[in-house]
């Protein structure tokens, strides 16, 4: 279990956020710093080299254009160092390229998207988080903070959450099985109500079964089937040799029934609306 935050909206809806910890945030930062380094090297190095700027020259001995050029150079360095985070967070819904790759997002404490002011504050305070070197202050604050927030986050009232990557509802093609009717009849002919505890392992197994070795597949299928068959009333011995097929049939059967039920519920919702308009 990772750190989580539950927010209750005025409509009494509970929204749960998975909070990002120091580990994933560190890797996102490493990726962002690499990109920043590349940007600095790609744009500013040829400029500085072309201008042949001697940084050891005293400011009073520097010409107007040299001074102006140095000012623009410093501005660009700051823009890449701090502006990079602010620009991306504001434009990409709280994500920088590093955060996007790691599936992280900056959010305000209430769950709202981060705005310019919050982004500006949290990134200005990076200077404090970096102290004394390599984000040690930020790391220790994040480690001891129950929501994994660094100093910049605390000041700006933000947090970093983990994006939920949606899981495909249909892990397999679920084409009709060869002995489907035969298996259904063996299972008792009717589909009982299955809980998430019974259906979850079947779904997860079907999603990941290709990664398992044959012996592991056999052991898992037998284990899952043994637990799920308690809900059915199987008549006699199993009609097919392949136990995995039985799992697929149960899952397909459940999905078809679920789909039909959802269709029926949608239909019921629409009827009153129509009758209201046309009494």
């Amino acid at each position: 279990m990772n750190a989580q935050l539950t927010i209750r909206t005025p409509e009494n809806v509970h929204i749960r956020y998975d909070l990002a910890g120091p580990g994933s945030r560190f890797f996102a930062l490493v990726i962002d710093n690499l990109i920043q380094g590349l940007l600095l090297t790609a744009f500013l190095w040829p400029l500085a080299k072309g201008k042949n700027l001697d940084l050891n020259t005293l400011p009073e001995k520097m010409g107007l254009w040299d001074g102006l050029f140095l000012a623009v150079l410093i501005f660009f360095i700051m823009l890449i160092a701090l502006g990079y985070f602010i620009i991306f967070e504001c434009l990409w819904d709280g994500q920088t390229p590093g955060k996007k790759l790691l599936g992280l997002k900056v959010r305000r404490l209430g769950g709202q998207p981060v705005d310019f002011l919050a982004s500006l504050l949290r990134n200005l305070f990076r200077i404090v988080d970096i102290l004394p070197v390599f984000y040690v202050a930020g790391f220790l604050t994040m480690f001891f903070n129950s929501m994994g927030r660094r100093i910049g986050d605390i000041v700006a009232g933000t947090m970093v959450i983990r994006e939920r990557r949606s899981k495909a509802p249909l892990p397999v093609g679920l084409a009709p099985e060869e002995h489907e009717e035969e298996i259904k009849a063996w299972l008792g002919g009717s589909l009982p109500e299955l809980t998430e505890g019974e259906l979850g392992p079947i779904r997860e197994y079907l999603r990941r079964c290709d990664a398992f070795a044959p012996a592991t597949r056999k052991r898992l299928v037998e284990g899952i089937l043994r637990r799920v068959l308690v809900c059915f009333r199987p008549a006699g011995p199993m009609p097919v040799v392949d136990a995995e097929q039985v799992l697929r049939v149960i899952y397909r059967w459940y999905q078809t029934a679920n789909f039909a039920r959802e269709e029926a519920e949608h239909g019921r919702e629409e009827k009153p609306a129509v009758s209201y308009e046309n009494p």
Binding site: G23, F26, P132, V133, Y135, G197, R219
Partner: protein
């Protein structure tokens, strides 16, 4: 199905490790204190004894440097001190293994969404720590033998092309580290004998090689950034100040005076506390990450999360 377990990304592995470390911070501090208590007591006694002994025999160390001048009584004392040192070293090693045993158990409970006390963590420690110790020796011997066998061609390669040789050496060390990374937690958490975990570790990591390599490389990077660099970067100003004040190690009095100035005291205290805290966090983090990797690989390769633990066919600790 164990709903709190699922395959994790590398970032999630690190986050969960830090989360378990933070939520069990007090227990880990207690465990460390309890496990190391005999060492601290003995260390304090040894220090007091050494100071008293030094005052009573001011020329003792000069006499040791010249063995011919040792009387039989003093020679016996030197042998006794040497044996005491060996005992102390063994005690420290045993304590470290007991501590590691407890840390693995705490992280194991954490991954399963439970919290245990330091007493529960140390349940069954004598056998567990002994197995860990034997497994450590076996790993060292196996690693040493393989390293020796591979060392000769690598040495030859280094003679031809040093850079290429170093790269091959690095790759070889990384491969050995990846394959054996889970051996120690397996000894504790699956109650294996101390010999077979190496093979089990190889079986689990071979299917998840790149993931394991990624975790090891990134944890090394984190360790380097947070600990090694901070130590180096803190020590550099210290030597710079020493140089600026003209103080050298040859003049201990001046060095002491420099260290006792309020600024240097604050600097030293800050350095000490930061490094202590980071060492504590990163030491436990490195062990915790092994436990979480073990679970992640079991989930990915054996479907550990799909059945209750008693049905998966693997004994869990507890």
């Amino acid at each position: 199905m164990q709903t709190h377990l699922r395959p994790m990304g590398i970032g999630e592995i690190f986050d969960r490790c830090f989360y378990i470390l933070r939520t069990n911070f007090g227990t880990l501090v207690k465990l460390h204190g309890i496990a190391f208590l005999p060492v601290y007591i003995l260390l304090a006694l040894a220090l007091v004894g050494a100071v008293i002994f030094q005052k009573a025999n001011p020329f003792f160390f000069q006499k040791i440097a010249n063995p011919e001048s040792l009387s039989p009584g003093l020679a016996l004392l030197v042998i006794g001190l040497f044996l005491l040192f060996i005992f102390f070293a063994l005690l420290v090693m045993a304590v470290i293994y007991v501590n590691i045993y407890g840390i693995y158990r705490i992280f194991d409970a954490g991954v399963r969404g439970e919290k245990i006390t330091w007493r529960q963590a140390l349940k069954g420690w004598p056998l567990g720590a002994l197995f860990l110790f034997i497994a450590g020796i076996i790993l060292a011997i196996a690693g040493g033998t393989v390293g020796f066998a591979a060392g000769i061609p690598i040495m030859a390669l280094k003679m031809v092309n040093n850079v290429l040789g170093e790269l091959v050496q690095f790759a070889f060390n990384m491969i050995i580290s990846v394959f054996t990374v889970l051996a120690m937690p397996i000894v504790v958490l699956e109650r294996k004998d101390p010999v077979t975990p190496v093979w089990r570790s190889i079986c689990l990591t071979v299917k998840n090689f790149w993931r394991a390599l990624g975790v090891i490389l990134l944890s090394t990077l984190l360790y380097m950034c947070l600990y090694v660099l901070i130590t180096v970067l803190f020590l550099l100003p210290f030597f710079w100040i020493m140089g600026m004040s003209g103080v050298t190690f040859d003049n201990p009095e001046a060095l002491l005076n420099m260290l006792l100035t309020p600024g240097m005291l604050a600097f030293g205290l800050g350095l000490f506390v930061t490094i202590l805290l980071l060492s504590f966090i990163l030491f436990h983090f490195n062990l915790g990450i092994q436990v979480i990797m073990l679970y992640d690989f079991k989930i990915r390769s054996e479907g550990y999360d799909l059945l209750p633990p008693e049905e998966v066919g693997i004994t869990v600790a507890g």
